[in-house]
Symmetry: C3
Subunit: 350 residues, 3 copies
Amino acid sequence: MQVSFSAQEITEIVRPKSAKGACDRPVQGIAALAEAKAGELSFLGNAKYKTEVPGTAASVVLLPPDYAGEPKAGQLFLLVENPSAALARICSRIEQALWPKPAPGIHPSAAVAADATVDPTATVGPLCVIESGATIGAGSHLQAQVFVGREARIGAGSWLMPGAIVAAECVLGNRVRLQPGVVIGSDGFGYEFVQGRHEKVPQVGNVEIGDDVEIGANSTLDRARFSRTSIGEGTKIDNLVQIAHNVKVGRHCLLCSQVGISGSTTLEDYVVLGGQAGIGGHITLGKGMKAGGQAGITSDVAPGSFVNGTPAIPYLLERKIAVLQQRLPDLFRRVDALESQLMDAKKSSS
Amino acid sequence: MQVSFSAQEITEIVRPKSAKGACDRPVQGIAALAEAKAGELSFLGNAKYKTEVPGTAASVVLLPPDYAGEPKAGQLFLLVENPSAALARICSRIEQALWPKPAPGIHPSAAVAADATVDPTATVGPLCVIESGATIGAGSHLQAQVFVGREARIGAGSWLMPGAIVAAECVLGNRVRLQPGVVIGSDGFGYEFVQGRHEKVPQVGNVEIGDDVEIGANSTLDRARFSRTSIGEGTKIDNLVQIAHNVKVGRHCLLCSQVGISGSTTLEDYVVLGGQAGIGGHITLGKGMKAGGQAGITSDVAPGSFVNGTPAIPYLLERKIAVLQQRLPDLFRRVDALESQLMDAKKSSS
Amino acid sequence: MQVSFSAQEITEIVRPKSAKGACDRPVQGIAALAEAKAGELSFLGNAKYKTEVPGTAASVVLLPPDYAGEPKAGQLFLLVENPSAALARICSRIEQALWPKPAPGIHPSAAVAADATVDPTATVGPLCVIESGATIGAGSHLQAQVFVGREARIGAGSWLMPGAIVAAECVLGNRVRLQPGVVIGSDGFGYEFVQGRHEKVPQVGNVEIGDDVEIGANSTLDRARFSRTSIGEGTKIDNLVQIAHNVKVGRHCLLCSQVGISGSTTLEDYVVLGGQAGIGGHITLGKGMKAGGQAGITSDVAPGSFVNGTPAIPYLLERKIAVLQQRLPDLFRRVDALESQLMDAKKSSS
């Protein structure tokens, strides 16, 4: 990452409430407080790291408005409402340099069906495949080695990274980002058990993905048995997540890495699932519910609740039980003691 | 999905035991009971949704033979032995339209080694790679961007979807389906710890996959350290499943999404593993055993048993314990009370 | 796998401490003790299988020095310090035949940017993409359909298997092996919640991978939010593992399949994580610590400790509690009994 900003430029980007100190050298990198060197920028995004501020060698530090300490010589403190968001604005500038807008057009090595429709402002990179009847919208970018199947439709301004796969008939909205290796539209896992064999249940639905959705590397979203598997607008899905057939994910959900959701389950809007959580089939997770990492959920969860554990129960109860479980050896000893005391009491009274 | 069937055509496909009502418009879609619109077909596949039948707007509904309700005007009820299987027969017709048989031949953009053998009835799609000595059987279909390594053998009638990878020396049977991004024949995870470093143990076996096996998107099957990792005929594997080196999976097993199986473990026939179950190494899961989602199994499991939890124990016991765990706060209170009562009793008796 | 060694050749490779018996036929395969046929080699690598030695049909058997039994007619026992390591040396010979060194050069179907630097001793296989400014070191091998992004750097002697993806700016050391489908440098999963929407936090760091690292099929390593996600020298990562942004993995760690590590967490050297373990964010796992399969860790772990369970606790305590949990039904009965005894005692004393 090549970065070079003056302290002046950074100040203009983050527009601080106030500043302390001064830095007269260019800023040429970003690093965590404990690792930053002179000439780098750092930030306090998590109160946990507050004690690292006085020791940091960073030349510019983004801090919350109530941070009381003083900078060292040659160090500039910028006090901003949200240091993490301020850093994001700086990174956004860097991102534009890192990921320059590609030139529109179709790379000569791509295999594009004669009857596919590629908007003239779209970019189709090397070794992509676009099958018959597919549509690529304005400004969308198929980076390299991407596959778009028959009759699939990609909206405008979407970015499909290397090796992403969108199978036949699937539909992506606008400004969708598929990280590398994502599979959209694999077959749902459905079989009927007939005379000792699993006969395949045809999976003839598709996957439909709303605007501004992002899906992480190597995640898999199965096409519906019929009708559609759907992901609502603004939802963000991390790496290696599994979404089974006919699942409906609402808008603005967050699904962390390695989550698995079984068939025909519905997530309402603003659901947040921690990493490796596993969700059973044919249930509903209510609006805004949250689940901790590795939670196992097999029945409906009420809107707004926070659950944890397997089987998942309310978070605070689960935390309490987890502590009590560690006291089980002691509890068994106490019950042993009670039994022998009672035995003694009986003997002495008889 | 483009669908158009007359009620007459649907009746001929599902051959109902009896029918009630009539529908004189074409059926142009399939949807769940609660979501179907007029002109669509629906079905009652799970008794859980029985109460949704009277309210459905579907024009044709597949129902079990004992369903007692009456159709609305313009609605046709078809009573069939197994509504889910009947729907599958309809979807099978749609599937043939959705996934037309590709024309045989090798796409000019594919990189096929001069000494590879591709049956003249096979289809090798755009940007596939077939290495030296590999064999592709009659009617098999490498859709696009598929990799088949040196000396690998693909049987007849198999379908390798975009981005599927079959590494050197691996063998697939007939009518095998690899969903997109599947990796067959990555190296097993084996190292010897020598003088502070992990030295690689060469993995020189292969993977052998029986007839009629299906493997889900982005699943990974490691080649054996020596001899073979094997998947028996008719077994179905879901997405993001990990099969380690030298594992032997029997015939007609079902492995749900995100299951992981450690090295040298054997699954006998008809094993069923729920999503995210983790299986230790060097153990045997007996014929027809079942494990719940997220189960953790580290020792042999008897044929026919049903286990759950981590560590996995018999299902009913695990369910009982899960309930008792939620009563732990109460149990601790009860033991506290017993202790103070006994203390009081002692005091009063002394 | 084509193998043919004389007993003499095997003896020269493994240099045994002593030998018993003789075998005068060529050895043409390797198999587990119970499965080996005449003409094959087997070994006792795990004491669990000791009882299988007398019954094995293998013609040559590698055994530990203290193995007391005698070979059958035509069977050769080779007593070696470490049978597993000895087998590895034989497999290493086979490996050289199985995976011949590819000829250097760039396949004509690869799409290599004009300003990328490919060492003349490197091999770039069919349908690879190398973007602008990327560097491929001496003797490295991009097998097929590999992607190397803008300004990425691959060291010397590395092997990127089919479908591996190294995104822009990422850096691989020497002798790194990426199994098929690995994704290096997908975006970290970072969003700010602003007015009901998740706004993307730009991810402008990279991933840096040390020498002699191996990464398993379809694993995903996210680029840092800023600075780097890093994997130390000699670390081995299994299939379907998730490494989030800004994670630092030390040297010589072993991460088993389906492990997930959340953002900004540090693993010191020699950490070992069992399959499906889930690690929270912003914590440190001390040098040489170990975690069992499916462990869930959300706080710092001391160097050298061995933890298990969710939430993870010391291994022996966790094993003990797991046993006590199965005795919960009995404990509840015992407490019921105590309560009624005490009730009776009160009645009788009143």
